[in-house]
């Protein structure tokens, strides 16, 4: 039987990818950001999963205003790094896991979440920057990845509550798969940031810190926080943080099991316009 062994949470700031691709990681500006992931790269080597289920948002790359799926699961055999206007990032192609993805899609839809099934999709920095942060610069990513895109571009994104419940449905789906797969679930985006208008540059360390605390110890309560609180307190783009609740909803403790172990926690301001947050939780 497949199972979820751990969840990883991380920002996916595009400038982090650019810094890595351009060899700037040792610069004083970037050094503290990458240092925060030293532990994580070793941890992932020591705890290599069979599949990563990676929750991210597309940033007007694969999805324009032609189609705006709220939840989209990538069921393809592979996904190419997208050209976001600067040329594609020089990173490996993303190998999917069509069998598990299709299994999860069917199970989760039957569990009342109406996913959009995507068989062709380029993946942007939202997906490739977390892989870079966690894996460094390998010739190939260490395992297959199931991309799961959430709309947070056009308001309203799904509510925190809905995301949390979806995470539970994904857990049920994974656990109903007969293959003995070790699956990690990653929630990405955030933390506080605003990229638009005269209020651009907003950062709220206090709010971010409380978010990390509650994600660990009170995820159900955190899931009840309304969108407007994210917008007002964490910036218009801080609302990406609802995606972290999908990963959190898939953990054991909120499904009748034991509390997770906090393996790593990191927070840093800034990366470009954004507060970087990162957590690793292991199921027990």
């Amino acid at each position: 039987m497949a199972h979820i062994s751990a969840s990883v949470y991380t920002s996916h700031v595009p400038a982090i990818g650019a810094a890595l691709d351009l060899g700037k990681t040792a610069e004083p500006y970037w050094q503290p950001v990458f240092k925060g992931y030293d532990f994580s790269r070793q941890w992932l080597k020591d705890h290599k999963p069979d599949v990563v289920f990676l929750i991210f948002n597309d940033h007007a790359t694969a999805f324009s205003l032609d189609m705006i799926p709220t939840f989209a699961i990538g069921t393809a055999a592979e996904f190419m790094p997208a050209d976001e206007g600067w040329g594609p990032r020089p990173v490996p192609k993303v190998v999917g896991h069509p069998r598990l993805a299709a299994h999860i899609a069917q199970s989760v839809i039957q569990d009342d979440f109406d996913l959009t099934i995507v068989n062709k999709m380029d993946v942007d920095h939202g997906l490739t920057v977390p892989l870079s942060l966690m894996c460094g610069q390998p010739q190939a990513w260490p395992c297959p990845v199931i991309p799961f895109a959430v709309n947070v571009v056009q308001y309203p994104p799904p509510s925190g509550r809905r995301c949390f419940m979806l995470g539970k449905a994904i857990r049920r789906a994974v656990e109903s798969c007969d293959e003995p797969l070790n699956v990690q679930i990653w929630g990405t985006g955030g933390m506080s940031h605003q990229l638009q208008g005269p209020r651009a540059g907003l950062i709220n360390r206090e709010w971010d810190t409380a978010f990390l605390d509650r994600l660990i110890s009170d995820p159900e309560g955190l899931a009840a926080v309304p969108h407007i609180d994210y917008v007002r307190e964490a910036g218009s783009e801080g609302i990406e943080l609802v995606m972290w609740l999908i990963a959190r909803g898939a953990m054991s403790d909120v499904n009748g099991g034991d509390k997770p172990t906090v393996r790593h926690r990191f927070y840093h301001v800034p990366a470009s316009n954004t507060a970087v947050g990162h957590l690793i939780l292991e199921n027990n």
Binding site: L65, E84, G85, Q154, Y155, Q194, A200, P226, S272
Partner: protein, 129 residues
């Protein structure tokens, strides 16, 4: 029945909701077209002629030509789409975000390095700073 929009009193912030998306549809789809190198080249050669291929309002075209991102947002532009114009111009996301704040590039970068813009006094329109 009108929609509940609790986010209209957040200062300096336009939430890209369904109404804004409708208003900015062609503007944003024009931006999206700049994802292709051929289109970027054609746009750079004659911006006005390229914009005239799109059913955008004159105001939207003028805002793009002036690279007035705040104006683009008022007219329905979304920052992730508008970022394609910045990429075409060779601007970083930080340069684009900073351009909307009335600060110089250096001032904005320094503010971010010092911890970013504080939320204090920035939660509600008309709030005392």
């Amino acid at each position: 029945m009108s929609l509940d929009k609790p986010y209209t009193d957040v200062p300096g912030t336009t939430v890209f909701d369904a109404d804004m998306s409708r208003l900015g549809y062609h503007l944003n789809q024009f931006c999206m077209s700049l994802m292709k190198a051929d289109n970027r080249a054609r746009f750079k050669t004659d911006e006005r002629a390229y914009l005239d291929e799109w059913p955008m309002s004159e105001e939207q075209k003028q805002a793009v030509l002036a690279r007035d991102l705040n104006r683009c947002i008022v007219l329905g532009g979304n920052i992730y789409f508008l970022a394609k114009i910045g990429a075409t111009d060779g601007k970083s996301f930080q340069q684009m975000a900073g351009s909307m704040t009335g600060m110089s590039e250096e001032q904005y970068r320094d503010m971010m390095v010092s911890g970013g813009r504080s939320v204090e006094g920035n939660r509600y329109v008309g709030e005392k700073k």
